[in-house]
């Protein structure tokens, strides 16, 4: 070959002198060429306006719903875990399903804030604040279940490594203990991350505040933010570090939650695919929930210029990708079961699809694998109503995924003599429904008192913020 080149007498350089990547025009992240002041007015206006009637209606409804959880828990603690539908062999039921469901929801926020931040995905700016709030509130809802599902909740502090008179430590081999650490760390870091991001915007609200109380309160929480270069520089570094810290957490939390199942020896739980599959599922459900929340907000507050079709497109594509991953995992479980030639494993998966919980399995498949496939079509992605409906399906499907995993395995494990059937009681149902109330109460308060978008960051991604934009 070398001689062939030599014969022509010309050597082609391996490296080009100049690289001219094709300049793909990126869609503007803020439509209609909105100005900085418009953005500030828009976002702060939501916090400053008179409380709208719909908010009060929703708030009262949400409080009412949240009381279901409170009543359910009071009854549970006073009477016994037996008020739920649990029994041998299904010692875990809706509580654990709901826990995993809410933790999964809580995934999108930190993923958007941290991973997309590190990956310089600028479209994250208009959704990250609300998504992070969603994460924190979802973790709050999630945290209720593992605490209260134990038989003696007043002894739940045994879970923490508190030195005690008996010198008994928690069992560091147990995945439930890992959960305690994983979820509490995740919750703490998410709150920190969210709060740090809020500081410049809180300062804006403070500066615009007219009443003394607001000035004082927002003043306190904005921690003396003046917007100086020095502050910005520190702030950016801090934010970046937090993003770096959060990134592994995004992956670790649901990995560890999946260990609750994966480290057990039950057929259908004892699988190594669980960590990546759970993380994909969590991102899937998290983005589903982000869209479920953001689309109505966009309509109510007319935020079309800030949450553009491009944002929706990006998110639906992530849902499509993670949904397909989850579908792949479902298929792979069957393949491994068959390939592993373990009778119990094979039975567990055949039973999932065709056993007495087949209805739940096929709800899960339709919602999680089939429904996101519609996002291949641009028409669907552009139809906001349709997108919203599909995200609802995603939420339902992901709840059922956890239900299928937890319940089908427990009710049909090794010895057929102890097989049973699990069904929830009214207390299970009310306690779960109530958590949507808890979530809504918190989210409504967030809408009312905190800027729901990161104004400072959005301004940074407007075309006019880029002084050198014309050069591109």
């Amino acid at each position: 070959m070398a001689s062939a080149h030599a014969s022509t007498g010309e050597v082609k350089p391996a490296i080009l002198d100049e690289v001219n990547p094709v300049d793909i025009p990126r869609p503007a992240l803020v439509a209609n060429d909105r100005s900085f002041s418009w953005i500030t007015d828009k976002i702060c206006g939501i916090v400053e306006e008179k409380t709208p009637t719909w908010w009060w209606v929703c708030f009262v409804l949400a409080c009412g719903t949240a009381s279901f959880t409170v009543m359910g828990l009071v009854y549970l603690v006073s009477t016994g875990t037996g008020v739920w539908g649990l029994a041998n062999p299904a010692n875990w039921g809706w509580a654990i399903v709901n826990f995993v469901f809410w933790i999964g929801i809580g995934h999108a926020g930190t993923l958007i804030s941290a991973i997309l931040c590190l990956l310089r995905q600028k479209w994250r700016t208009s959704i990250n604040r609300a998504a992070e709030a969603m994460t924190i509130f979802a973790v709050v809802c999630a945290g209720i279940f593992p605490v209260f599902h134990v038989g003696r909740v007043w002894m739940a502090w045994f879970l923490f490594p508190i030195p005690n008179a008996n010198a008994i430590w928690p069992n560091f081999k147990s995945a439930l203990l890992w959960d305690v650490f994983a979820v509490s760390t995740y919750g703490t870091v998410s709150v920190l991350f969210w709060y740090v991001g809020l500081i410049p915007d809180l300062a804006s609200v403070r500066d615009r505040a007219t009443s003394k109380i607001r000035q004082v309160l927002y003043g306190i929480f904005s921690m003396g933010w003046r917007g100086s270069n020095r502050q910005w520089s520190n702030y950016e570094m801090c934010y970046l570090l937090l993003a770096g810290l959060s990134t592994p957490l995004v992956l670790s939390v649901h990995t560890i939650v999946s260990f609750d199942f994966a480290i057990s020896l039950l057929p259908g739980w004892h699988t190594t695919i669980f960590p990546p599959y759970f993380v994909a599922g969590a991102i899937f459900s998290g983005f589903g929930m982000v869209l479920t929340l953001m689309l109505p907000l966009r309509a109510i507050y007319r935020l079309d210029d800030l949450i553009t079709q491009y944002h929706i497109d990006c998110m639906t594509k992530i849902i499509l990708a993670t949904g397909t991953m989850v579908g792949y995992a479902y298929g792979m479980e069957f393949f491994i079961a068959a390939y592993g030639a373990n009778d119990f494993e094979i039975f567990a998966f055949v039973n999932r699809a065709f056993g007495n919980y087949a209805w739940a399995y096929w709800i899960m498949i339709s919602c999680n694998v089939i429904s996101p496939q519609f996002f291949w079509f641009k028409k669907v992605r552009q139809n906001t109503a349709l997108v919203w409906i599909i995200t609802i399906f995603v939420n339902i499907g992901m709840w059922f995924e956890r239900f299928v995993i937890a319940v089908t395995t427990l009710t049909r494990d090794f010895l057929p003599s102890s097989w049973g059937y699990y069904s929830p009681t009214i207390v299970d149902i009310f306690t779960y429904v109530g958590t949507f109330g808890v979530f809504s109460v918190l989210f409504l308060l967030f809408l009312r008192f905190l800027p729901l978008m990161a104004m400072a960051e959005i301004k940074a991604v407007t075309p006019q913020a880029d002084a050198h934009a014309h050069k591109r």
Binding site: W92, G151, M155, F158, A175, L265, F344, F414, S417, Y421
Partner: protein, 1114 residues
């Protein structure tokens, strides 16, 4: 009391040496005298000049000081009063054991009862009585709860109003004098059957003193047809007694000799000994069973024939035709042929082949006729046994006392004729369980005075004028005889809790005994029976039984001619033909018996051995009848498959309600489909549907007595079953009955075992997975328990440094599934009952459960429910896995291993995450979902609004060595750790300085092991290679359930064997469950192909080499 500092005596007063506390005292200084005079020092004297202000200041300060440290929040003081005169041998904290006996239906079982501080808590079998091996029955086990039943009758009443004990004694005295004057005219007694020599003595005295009185006896479940038959064919006052010790071939016809037939305790041991196979060369007995229902005996059968009970006489006649009848043959043969004419060809072949087998074992075979069979049937059975040379060997006729009592029908006739004005009903419950055509309740209204001696204030007490409180057998003196006639002692452990009196005390008063207390009465009887003098009596009480007091066998001949006469008139009985002409079979319930134990929670919650039903009875129908009655209709296939024979929806077992009509009388109850029943026989368990009982027994099932007459006491033809369209929920503890082709209970035919002794290892996942112990797979049980091989695991395993390593081996070949272990465990370990509703939800708390699987050979055929399945039973409790999966997942270290290899539970540490229960592959952990120990079971869902606290009476039943768990806590089998600790302490005390602290094998018996008459459970030290449990675990039939999961359970099982007869028409070359196992899994191929070796995947031969290498590298 003198103050401590009181003034010392003056010198003048002192006589002895003088001591002083200080120089001040010596010198008697004024300061010292002042101080010594004061009791409380100077400060207290402030109080002398009390002014109000000062008083409050001091009081406030005292309260403040007193209040620090919450000294005011002391627990209420309660006084423990020591025995002013301690009972003999009483050591606080140590249990005492007394020998006594438990009687049911005239048969007594020898017991050893554990008492704590004077209260009986646990029934054990008397191991000194070798014939029963220390075993006890389920019902004897549960009887201790009856003693502490808060619903038991607590007061003597007259027409509902309370009566003092003194008044009762007056009534008895008045009765006695009136009987004496009338010579018993107008007086009748109705009692239960009893084998008590004392009662017999008093009965004779009674009838002698009052010849005109009527003495009637009634048992709803009669067991004396054998005696009646003997009087026909051999002579009066003879009773057949069976002995299975040398029976190599047994044909059981409509009997349940391992269940609740008389003598079951001894039969269990004898039968099990005949099946205790230790190597492939050992012999094993063979059991043929013909029955209409499904008994535990039927479940143990090697060959089982489903046949209507009405055909059993025909069955025996056909069996008799298969043997040499000798000179009487000519007379008998035509009668037998006529009787047997109704049998179909299949049945005849079955009989012919089985009888041919029996005939090979002359003198070593047995035809056992169920006690409920007619006397004619018993007569034929005697004849067959005699012709097979079994008389005097496996069955003998023993001399028993003449029975002079009238029947309940005679009594009813006497009442009708107006000749009874005083009726004394002792025990029983005839208003509930007398034959329905007698209408006993109305009979009682015709009698002027009805006196009832009853343990419960029940239906009969309600209709009586007087109700006397009967003492429990643990509260009263008495005696009784075992099946074979050995006299047993019955001594009280506790004074009657409610001043109850015993039957013999009442009788003693009536016949005018000098001393009417129970002790004197029994003492007097035993003086004649052979326990001579006080020392003899004390020895009798100590042993619990009287040696050499068994019934004496009488060499008798069976007269074929008299049998022919008796049978001459009888014709072949109509057989059930279809859904419009059913046969109803009455059986006494496995749990509540004939209804007497309906208020016993342990028995109510103990699952029926076959149907696994609790808290209710049901109309049991065969799958075919269910099909024909559209109980299983085509469109309900989604819910009813062969895996769930009954309608199961949302995990609850639903039963269609049906009405059974017999002779115009009706009963209504839930229908359960039970495979293995005769096609057109429906089984109606007795004992439920009581109308006046305690909290536990209320709303429990239906009463089959409502359709049962004296004629049809065992079975009746012509019954009709109609669905009402309603559906009720029953509480079934095991809804799924297929083993799903899994190697859980491993079974083989005996002949296959002989040809392939290693068959057990070739089953299960572990047979074709890499060896779980890697290089260490060849280790012995002892080595493994001590060295805990890692087997490639990443985790550090617990070090088993203890001197003992506990383990258990359960021989599935001898376990009959009688459930005695279930209740023994419940009693020993303070396990709560949870009630019908909670069982329906699946929250029963039993630490050991009896799994029951049906198999038919094809696990994938979902279209039909098999009619003739094989049954596999398996007791399952915590396996104490060496690498316990429950321990790794507990976040709070509440379940951990101890150095002796026990998987222990720290209840106080448990917060109730239930992860351990999820991760337990055997599902043996039990969670206290509700406050079962503290709240009334019908008000569990009211939480704190329900009253709290265990009734005081029930508290007395608790074992003080075991904690009572609260709600929210997980619990499970502990291998009776309290018994292990007691054993260790006792051995250490014994060892003193010798360091010989290893407990000898067999010293510690855990509760389930102790109670098992079959010796199916063996517990001991597996690190001792000479212990019995080690020998069993080293047996080639030994296997670990789910061994492939690497849990390394300390409880292992010895595989089950079936002794099939290749000549039989229903012979199958391997057990159905094995066929299902091999057919279900794609990897096991067909037949008995041995796998390559333990190292290989077997089916994956190309890679076998590399696997071996990997195995080596582990």
């Amino acid at each position: 009391m003198k103050p401590i500092n009181s003034t010392p005596a003056t010198k003048a007063e002192q006589t002895g040496p003088r001591y002083w506390r200080s120089l001040d005292e010596l010198s008697q200084s004024p300061e010292f005298l002042e101080q010594a005079h004061r009791e409380f020092g100077v400060e207290a004297s402030e109080m002398n000049e009390v002014d109000r202000r000062h008083f409050f200041k001091i009081m406030a300060a005292s309260f403040a000081i007193g209040g620090v440290g919450f000294t005011g929040c002391r627990r209420p003081e309660s006084n423990i009063l020591p025995h002013s005169k301690a009972p003999e041998y009483q050591v606080p904290g140590q249990p005492l054991y007394y020998a006594t006996s438990f009687s049911l239906r005239g048969e007594s079982l020898p017991l050893l009862v554990e008492t704590h501080a004077g209260r009986p808590t646990k029934i054990e079998g008397n191991a000194d009585y070798k014939a029963y091996n220390g075993g006890t029955s389920l019902k004897a086990q549960a009887s201790v709860l009856e003693l502490y039943d808060p619903d038991r009758s607590t007061s003597f009443t007259k027409e509902g109003a309370n009566l003092s004990k003194e008044a009762v004694l007056d009534v008895v005295a008045g009765l006695k004098s009136s009987i004496a004057t009338s010579k018993g005219k107008g007086v009748a007694l109705l009692t239960e059957k009893s084998s008590s020599p004392t009662r017999l003595r008093l009965k004779k005295a009674f009838l002698k003193a009052y010849p005109q009185a009527t003495w009637a006896e009634y048992e709803p479940v009669a067991t004396d047809n054998g005696k009646a038959a003997a009087s026909i064919v051999a002579g009066a006052n003879l009773e057949p007694k069976y002995d299975l010790s040398n029976a190599e071939r047994i044909l059981c016809v409509a009997g349940d000799f391992l269940g609740d037939n008389p003598g079951a305790m001894g039969f269990g041991k004898q039968f099990a000994d005949g099946r205790r196979v230790r190597s492939s060369k050992d012999k094993m007995n063979r059991l043929y069973v013909a029955e209409s229902g499904f008994s535990t005996t039927g479940a143990m059968a090697d060959h089982r024939k489903r046949l209507a009970t009405s055909q059993m006489t025909a069955f025996l006649a056909a069996a008799a035709l298969e043997i040499e009848l000798g000179v009487e043959g000519d007379a008998l043969r035509p009668i037998f042929q006529k009787l047997a004419s109704g049998l179909d060809a299949d049945t005849k072949e079955w009989i012919s082949k089985s009888m041919a087998d029996l005939a090979h074992f002359k003198g070593g075979s047995l035809v056992y006729a169920g006690p409920q069979l007619s006397k004619e049937a018993h007569g034929i059975a005697f004849l067959i046994n005699e012709k097979l040379g079994n008389l005097g060997k496996t069955v003998s006729l023993v001399e028993v006392d003449a029975d002079e009592s009238a029947s309940i029908e005679d009594l009813a006739a006497a009442i009708d004729s107006g000749s009874v004005d005083t009726l004394l009903i002792s025990g029983g419950n005839p208003v509930y369980n007398a034959p329905v055509e007698i209408d006993f309740a109305s009979k009682l209204s015709q009698v002027e005075t009805v006196i009832r001696l009853g343990y419960y204030d029940d239906e009969t007490s309600e209709k009586s004028n007087y109700h006397f409180v009967q003492a429990h057998y643990l509260e009263s003196w008495g005696d009784g005889r075992t099946y074979s006639g050995d006299v047993l002692a019955q001594q009280p452990m506790i004074l009657p809790l409610f001043e109850g009196i015993s039957e013999i005390e009442l009788l003693g008063s009536l016949v005018g005994e000098a001393n009417t207390d129970g002790h004197s009465l029994v003492y007097a009887t035993l003086q004649k029976a052979g326990a001579k003098g006080k020392s003899g009596f004390d020895q009798f009480l100590h042993d619990g039984f009287l040696s050499d007091s068994a019934y004496k066998a009488k060499r008798s001949l069976i007269s074929g001619m008299r049998l022919a006469e008796a049978l001459a008139g009888s014709a072949a009985i109509a057989v059930p033909t279809g859904k419009d002409n059913l046969e109803a079979v009455f059986v006494n319930d496995a749990s509540v018996d004939d209804g007497r134990y309906i208020n016993n929670g342990w028995l109510q919650e103990c699952p029926d051995p076959m149907s696994k039903l609790t808290w209710d009875n049901a109309i049991f129908v065969s799958p075919r009848l269910a099909n024909e009655l559209d109980i299983v209709s085509a469109d309900s296939m989604l819910q009813i498959t062969r895996k769930n024979p009954n309608i199961v929806k949302d995990g609850r077992s639903y039963s269609p309600v049906a009405t059974v009509t017999i002779d115009g009388r009706e009963i209504t109850g839930g229908v359960q489909i039970l495979p293995g029943l005769d096609n057109y026989s429906i089984i109606l368990p007795l004992g439920y549907g009581r109308t006046r009982t305690g909290r536990v027994g209320t709303n429990s099932g239906f009463s089959s007595y409502a359709v049962r007459t004296s004629e049809s006491a065992t079975f009746v033809s012509g019954a009709k079953l109609e669905l009402t369209g309603e559906v009720i929920q029953l509480a079934n503890t095991q809804e799924h009955w297929s083993m799903e082709g899994r190697a859980i209970v491993r079974e083989s035919n005996l002949d296959d075992y002989a040809s392939d002794p290693q068959w057990v290892e070739k089953m299960g996942m572990e047979s074709h997975s890499p060896p779980i112990l890697g290089d260490d797979k060849g280790m012995s049980v002892q080595q493994r328990s001590k060295e805990t091989p890692r087997g490639g695991s990443l985790y550090k395993h617990p070090d088993y440094t203890g001197i003992h390593q506990w383990g258990m081996a359960i021989d599935l070949n001898v376990c009959s599934g009688c459930n005695a272990c279930v209740v023994a465990c419940q009693s020993e370990n303070n396990i709560p009952i949870v009630g019908k509703d909670q069982v329906r939800r699946g929250r029963e708390m039993h630490w050991i459960r009896m799994d029951r699987y049906f198999s038919s050979g094809d696990v994938n055929d979902l279209s039909v429910i098999p009619e003739d399945p094989q049954v596999s039973l398996q007791p399952i409790a915590c396996m104490h896995c060496e690498t316990a999966p429950c321990e790794t997942v507990c976040p709070v270290n509440a379940t951990v291993h101890d150095e002796d290899g026990l998987n222990t539970m720290a209840y106080n540490r448990c917060i109730g995450t239930r992860y351990c229960a999820n991760n337990c592959p055997y599902k043996v952990r039990r969670f206290n979902f509700m406050d079962y120990q503290q709240r009334p079971l019908d008000r569990l869902y009211e939480g704190p609004l329900a009253p709290k606290g265990m009734p005081e009476l029930v508290q007395m039943a608790q074992n003080p060595d075991v904690s009572v768990r609260m709600r929210g806590v997980m619990e499970k089998c502990t291998y009776c750790v309290q018994r292990i600790q007691q054993g260790k302490i006792a051995q250490k005390v014994k060892a003193q300085d010798s360091n010989d602290i290893r407990i000898p094998d067999g010293t510690i018996k855990v509760a389930c092991q102790q109670v098992c008459p079959m010796n199916a459970i063996e517990f001991g030290d597996v690190s001792d290679e000479h212990s019995l449990v080690s020998e069993l675990q080293a047996n080639e039939r030994n296997y670990a359930v789910l061994g492939y999961t690497n849990t390394r359970p300390r409880t292992t099982y010895l595989a089950k064997l079936r002794n099939q007869n290749p000549e039989m028409p229903d012979y199958i070359d391997q057990p159905h469950s094995t066929t299902e196992y091999e057919g279900d899994s794609p990897h096991h191929g067909g037949g008995h192909e041995p796998h390559e070796s333990q190292d290989d995947h077997g089916h994956d031969e190309a890679h076998s080499d590399s696997h071996t290498e990997q195995g080596g590298a582990h």
